[in-house]
């Protein structure tokens, strides 16, 4: 008896899943496999120095377990790490006042804001 399409797709998925789950799943990449994809600073950016410091330090920060937290970076000062954007912004205000400093989420890539640019139209 020939297999109908419904069975076919289900079977293909089940077989692939069976194969996949036989392998141990790596939930996080090993320390030495953090692939950076951060562009250089924009020319003329007021936080160009801070951005370059962040690029140099982000792998270390991730390896220290800070992935997803927020780094407060100010050239000439140690980087501090905060649990939330709000905490980091408050710290920036307290530590550096109006002087330029940078808060950046600790990820090896630049994350598009909320992926809004992919949002299909509801109309």
């Amino acid at each position: 008896m020939s297999e109908d399409g419904t069975d076919l797709v289900w079977r293909v998925h089940q077989e692939a899943l069976e194969q996949l789950l036989q392998q141990p799943i790596q939930r996080t990449p090993p320390d030495d496999e953090v692939h950076l994809n951060l562009p250089p600073a924009e020319p003329g950016s007021p936080v160009a120095a801070e951005w370059e410091i962040f690029r140099q330090e982000v792998v270390r920060l991730i390896r220290e377990g800070n992935r997803g937290k927020f780094a407060l970076v100010k050239a000439g000062h140690p980087i501090t790490v905060w649990d939330s954007l709000r905490d980091a912004a408050q710290a920036a205000q307290l530590l550096y006042g109006e002087a330029p400093s940078m808060v950046q989420q600790i990820l090896p890539y630049l994350r598009p804001l909320s992926m809004e640019s992919y949002r299909p139209c509801r109309a």
Partner: protein
């Protein structure tokens, strides 16, 4: 009701998924005696900001999925035209033995480019069919379906 539980990562509501062709495409290949393309392992994300599930171009290319109709889409960076595709997918647990969320003929659009952190955005079309419970402090979320 089957339940999947995942960590609520810093990157968002991430789910492991496998993506394949939809029924008509698989049937057509089988009828012609052609091999079926391997399913693609994809990093999925639940995204209430997307109306329709959207798939990274590299995934669609790997499946050799045929585009369907075009659809205008309004994005933060302006209007773009996307293509519609039909796919199948499984959202699966991280370890053996749990339930799976499977859909065989699912309409999706292509993402404009390949994002760094995600391969498939599961939008409101899926969220309307399941119950998602997010426990922020416990850094976990569940999907009941």
């Amino acid at each position: 009701m089957p339940r999947l539980t995942f960590p609520f990562a810093a990157d968002g509501l991430l789910v492991p998924a496998m993506v394949g062709l939809a029924t008509p495409a698989m049937q057509a290949l089988q009828a012609r005696g052609h091999p079926l393309p391997r399913l693609v392992r994809a990093k999925g994300m639940l995204d209430s900001g997307s109306t329709v599930t959207a798939v990274a171009p590299w995934v669609l290319a790997q499946l050799n999925a045929s585009p369907g109709a075009t659809a205008p889409t309004q994005t933060a960076s302006g209007n773009v035209v996307v293509r519609m595709y039909k796919i199948s997918f499984t959202i699966h647990p991280l370890v053996r033995g749990g339930p799976t969320l499977f859909r065989r003929d699912w309409s999706v659009t292509n993402l404009a480019k390949d994002p760094d952190d995600v391969d498939i955005l599961f939008g409101l079309d899926l969220l309307h069919q399941i119950v998602v419970t997010i426990d922020g402090p416990a850094q976990s979320f569940t999907m009941d379906f």
